[in-house]
């Protein structure tokens, strides 16, 4: 809200010229993807407004407010830690940090997707009354999930300091492409699911189950090598990368957890992360990038085709 007030003062000094004055707005069922993207871009202020709205509404009237967004993963962490480290004794060194690296990413992904899926339906009121690029609604869910991601990264940073864990500095730059991939991938699924959910309201229920299976299919709780080694034995290593989130999660783990194959107190070597060079990781991320972009374009065109009847279907 402070931003708005400062913007208010700026605005008084210099009146902005109208960017969209001569814009020709075409209402038709056939609008190409690139012009949809341009339209979303002109509505970026709305995206920010909606993110702000979602954040300020979410924890309104709750005592702990934003603390919830950090408490929630912290409690999940405790549960997994107790189950896997203390009860099942997986013996991974600094398991809490390993877990947190993956959880933070996964939380972002699942929060974005489940928020976005119901976003168009939940905003039926404005979809039926106001004209704006509807893609902004699921994208705003991704935006607010991003804010929570940053809050949780703070928790992760504190954990790194407390656990005296040293990140792998030579891999540090990989966080940027991993982060870009993550956002585009989440946006692609969000846009697609929000449109489908208008027609098939099962989507939001189905998504819960799919997300749970997907979570266990991603090396968050267990180490990448636990699955990769047996897969490699059957020449199926590629199968693990069918899941685009894997490359992103292992990159984060490689950078922040940074224990590839530590030697345990018992003297044995535990294989946790892939041994690849930064370039190998970059290659994986590049593939995910291409896949994400293709998915995003597909999602936009599906959304565009379904959008025409939103106001009636809601």
């Amino acid at each position: 809200m402070l931003d708005w007030q400062s913007a208010q003062e700026d605005g008084r000094e210099s009146l902005t010229q109208h960017v969209s004055r001569d814009r020709l707005h075409v209402v038709s069922s056939k609008v190409p993807v690139w012009s949809r993207l341009i339209r979303i871009w002109t509505y970026r202020a709305l995206l920010l407004s909606l993110v702000r709205k979602e954040l300020s509404v979410k924890y309104k009237n709750s005592v702990l407010g934003f603390a919830w967004s950090m408490l929630n993963p912290a409690l999940t962490l405790v549960v997994y830690y107790v189950v896997f480290q203390l009860v099942l004794k997986n013996g991974m060194p600094q398991f809490a940090i390993f877990l947190l690296c993956g959880l933070v990413i996964w939380n972002f992904f699942s929060t974005a997707l489940s928020g976005a899926t119901s976003s168009v339906v939940a905003n039926a009121g404005i979809v039926q009354k106001v004209s704006f690029p509807r893609e902004v609604l699921p994208l705003a869910s991704v935006g607010s999930a991003l804010v929570f991601l940053f809050l949780q990264l703070i928790v992760l940073a504190i954990a790194l300091v407390v656990g005296r864990d040293v990140p792998a500095f030579s891999y540090l730059a990989l966080l940027i492409p991993a982060f870009v991939d993550l956002v585009i991938l989440a946006a692609a699924f969000s846009v697609f699911l929000s449109a489908v959910n208008v027609y098939y309201r099962d989507t939001q229920h189905l998504l819960e189950i799919v997300l749970m299976a997907w979570f266990w299919g991603t090396p968050v709780v267990y180490a990448y090598q636990t699955i990769a080694v047996p897969l490699a034995r059957h020449h199926l290593s590629w199968a693990f990368f069918l899941n685009p989130v894997t490359a992103i999660v292992i990159t984060f783990q490689r950078v922040l957890y940074a224990k590839v194959s530590p030697v345990l107190a018992t003297g044995s070597v535990m294989k946790i992360l892939p041994t690849g060079s930064p370039l190998w990781f970059l290659g994986q991320l590049a593939i995910v990038f291409v896949v994400s972009c293709v998915l995003f374009v597909i999602a936009l065109s599906v959304f565009g085709r379904m959008e025409g009847n939103f106001a009636e279907e809601l």
Partner: protein, 408 residues
């Protein structure tokens, strides 16, 4: 002049489902055999609106006028055809759409203006203007959920008109708010017209359309059935209303009759002539302020009609209704009309100044339905020899007197 809005062969088909299947299981099981009826909400509409003109869309409920407005606004997409709108569009389909109850009025101004596509900086520079227009004052920082309906509406309208639109789409929103606020809204719309903005106005109120629009279109069952200046369009609207009332339910069950609806609605009594003349004996040629006038309406009845009431309206040169009377509503007993005759309405003292004033007369049957009307066919001119100006001839006196100063 270029066109601000071009509606190019637009059709919209709604599918009306008997039941709504929105779960996957039901859709799979009933795939391809969900019963639905196609409903043409709009059919081959072609309208172009020049920049800076105001048009009205008229029609009875379900005629498709709001659907057309939603298509222009881009809220729904036409099934066929294309609509091109130039410049920034602001649609007031519902005031305060997009307000979030938990947020304060201030935050909602930003939210709903960005929803209309306005950059944040621009909203910020207009913020004070918006708050002033909404008359909310200190309440602007309260949560919107604590607002009264009127406050909510005022804030919504304030945002919509302050986004500096090139094309303004208005749908019946003026029905909310008190009279003072309505007047303010209409003033604002007139200001927009002066500034050369394009306005599309959907209304149930022909009078509002007559007073504000330069052109009007009448929709009936999704097609344009009348177009032109508001007077002609309103006449077409009344005709289509009457056609709908008389043919009634038969239309749906018996589509064969739809081809010739005109034949069904030859009324039993018709107005055939109308004239407004001076009733003054001194100067039958001219009408001066405070002169008597009479309106003579000739009718032709095909069969005796009992209990017919008469409604009369006088219009100012700006086409606003300055007087309206309906003998049925006034409790005056209806007239029995037969064959040919004249209804004479006398105004003994017409307190009007210069201008050409229009007259419209409607005959109303004993059930309250309009059966025949004439408008834009008669007018009278008032000539004002005195030096006062304006619309209404008020009698006044003036004097001056001094007040002795009271010494302290």
């Amino acid at each position: 002049m270029t066109n601000a809005i071009e509606i190019d062969d637009v059709s919209k088909i709604f599918r009306l489902y008997q039941e709504k299947y929105s779960s996957l299981k039901e859709r799979v099981i009933k795939a391809g055999k969900i019963p639905y009826q196609e409903f043409w909400a709009l059919k081959d509409i072609n309208i172009s609106v020049e920049e800076g003109t105001s048009i009205g869309l008229l029609g009875h409920n379900g005629s498709g006028k709001s659907t057309l407005l939603k298509c222009i606004a881009g809220i729904i997409q036409p099934t066929k055809g294309e609509i091109r709108v130039k410049g920034r569009v602001s649609a007031m389909l519902e005031v305060g759409a997009g307000f979030h109850p938990e947020l304060s009025g201030r935050d909602n101004i930003f939210l709903s203006a960005t929803l209309l596509g306005v950059p944040v900086k621009e909203i910020a520079s207009r913020f004070d203007e918006i708050v002033a227009f909404s008359e909310l004052g200190a309440f602007i920082d309260n949560q919107v959920k604590h607002y009264s309906t009127g406050m909510y509406a005022r804030l919504g309208f304030a945002v919509a008109v302050n986004v500096d639109p090139d094309v303004l789409l208005v749908d019946e929103v003026l029905a909310v708010g008190d009279e003072n606020f309505q007047r303010k809204c209409i003033e604002r719309i007139r200001l927009f017209q002066k500034e050369g903005r394009t306005i599309v106005f959907v209304s149930h109120s022909p009078e509002l359309v007559r007073a504000t629009c330069e052109e009007a279109y009448v929709l009936d069952h999704g097609s344009v059935v009348g177009a032109g200046d508001p007077g002609a369009a309103i006449a077409a609207l009344r005709e289509s209303l009457q056609a709908g009332a008389q043919v009634g339910g038969a239309k749906i069950s018996d589509p064969g009759k739809e081809a010739e609806p005109k034949a069904a609605k030859v009324p039993n009594v018709e107005l055939v002539s109308i004239r407004a003349v001076s009733a003054s004996e001194e100067r039958p040629e001219h009408i001066f302020p405070h002169d008597p006038i009479k309106v003579e309406v000739g009718y032709h009845a095909r069969s005796p009609q009992l209990g017919i009431s008469v409604a009369i309206q006088l219009f100012s040169p700006q086409k606003e209704v300055i007087f309206g009377a309906n003998t049925r509503e006034m409790g005056i007993e209806g007239f029995d009309l037969d064959s040919d005759g004249v209804v004479e309405i006398n105004f003994e003292d017409l307190p009007l100044l210069d201008g050409i004033y229009g007259v419209a007369v409607t005959l109303i049957d004993s059930g309250g339905n309009p059966i025949s009307w004439l408008e834009d066919r008669a007018a009278f001119q008032v000539v004002n020899p005195s030096r006062v100006s304006g619309l209404v001839a008020l009698n006044f006196s003036i004097n001056s007197y001094s007040v002795p100063r009271i010494a302290n």
